[in-house]
Assembly symmetry: C2
Homo-oligomer: 190 residues x 2
DNA sequence: TAGCTCGATGACAGTAACTGTCATCGCTGT
DNA sequence: ACAGCGATGACAGTTACTGTCATCGAGCTA
């Protein structure tokens, strides 16, 4: 006999996703989320810094992973933007699989529906860009090249991900990333 | 004899800027800002949607201005990214003058110090990118090229602006924008 | 001039996000 | 057995933000 049901955090995430989808982000209170998860409001805030963060869990190791991928690709001789694109593509290969397409679509619909959630997503991306710029600098890329390459890499991912989410379940995100990278290259030209 | 002092909005902006700088964003309450401006909290929220927005006023005509500039530059035969960079450079020429360097530095220091304010800044930039992408599409640029060019243009501006703010008062933002655009071009290559 | 509408503000109550603090009580190691 | 730990609950407090009605000078109209 356990004192509490396990996986409180996961239950909160599930409850929040459901309620945000059912009633919208604004019309959902933290107390309601906690109640559906069989917990109290106070416990919600022990697991998540705020009402938005509950949608952005599992992002902890992400930056490190992509930084390592970028460093490796850079060591393989790729240019700055190509290195980031390669790291993102490899990451996408493992995480944004065909099975998770529907889940990602659902989540993005919720995020797109509310500016507060868009803001949170944007700052996560910006933080990632900053980390990737640092990685490039460690590989000898100067400034402002490193910062620009990182921003460009994130732009590639944003656009590719948007298309992946909007498109059919069969599409390959790594492929879309490669296409976006190519499109960026052609569009920066004359 | 007037019933109220004029320029309530401006007084609120000034008071907020001062208090955010003095005590920090978190430690400042809206009631304090309103009191310093000789108004009530309720009136603050009639002028600004929230506590952050008070730092982002005067942004109303910006999107239209840059969209028009981009359309014009595009008609002059520039490539998508170049067109946006040109529009941004011209805008910067008129707005981010040497005299406003100190003010901009001050404002950016406040924004950089608080994630909530960074989020707001990022969504403004994202909204601008979206508008610029629309402008490019109207000029026949396809997808995902239009979206990527817009994101790239915004990246150029972000990096250039960061350098302008961090650098000496004499630097020219339009010049930094042109340098960033060139750096992006070289970094997307092999 | 008298009355009327309008627009900016104040007054006040209410909701909900978030925080600080202390109590509770199974589990774990000694 | 028992002490301490860690996740949770209970509860009060602050503050961002909203809805609603009252106020009152300015300008319009008859």
């Amino acid at each position: 006999m356990v004192r509490w049901e396990p996986n409180a955090r996961g239950r909160l995430e599930k409850a929040a996703l459901e309620l945000y989808a059912e009633r919208g982000f604004d019309a959902t209170t933290v107390a309601e989320i906690a109640a559906r998860a069989g917990l109290t409001e106070r416990t919600f805030f022990r697991h998540f810094a705020d009402k938005r963060e509950v949608l952005f869990g599992g992002t902890e190791g992400l930056e490190d992973l992509l930084v390592r991928g970028t460093l490796k690709a850079s060591d393989d001789g790729l240019g700055p933007v190509e290195a980031i694109a390669a790291a993102l593509a490899e990451f996408a290969e493992n995480v944004f699989t065909k099975q998770r397409h529907e889940l990602a679509r659902h989540r993005q619909a919720i995020i797109a529906a509310h500016p507060d959630l868009r803001e949170r997503e944007l700052i996560k991306m910006a933080s990632l860009a900053s980390a990737l710029a640092g990685a490039l600098r460690r590989r000898g890329v100067g400034d402002p090249a490193a910062a620009l390459a990182a921003e460009a890499g994130i732009a590639i991912f944003k656009v590719a991900f948007e298309r992946w989410v909007a498109g059919p379940a069969g599409a390959s995100l790594p492929q879309l990333i490669r296409e976006s990278a190519a499109a960026l290259k052609s569009v920066t030209g004359p």
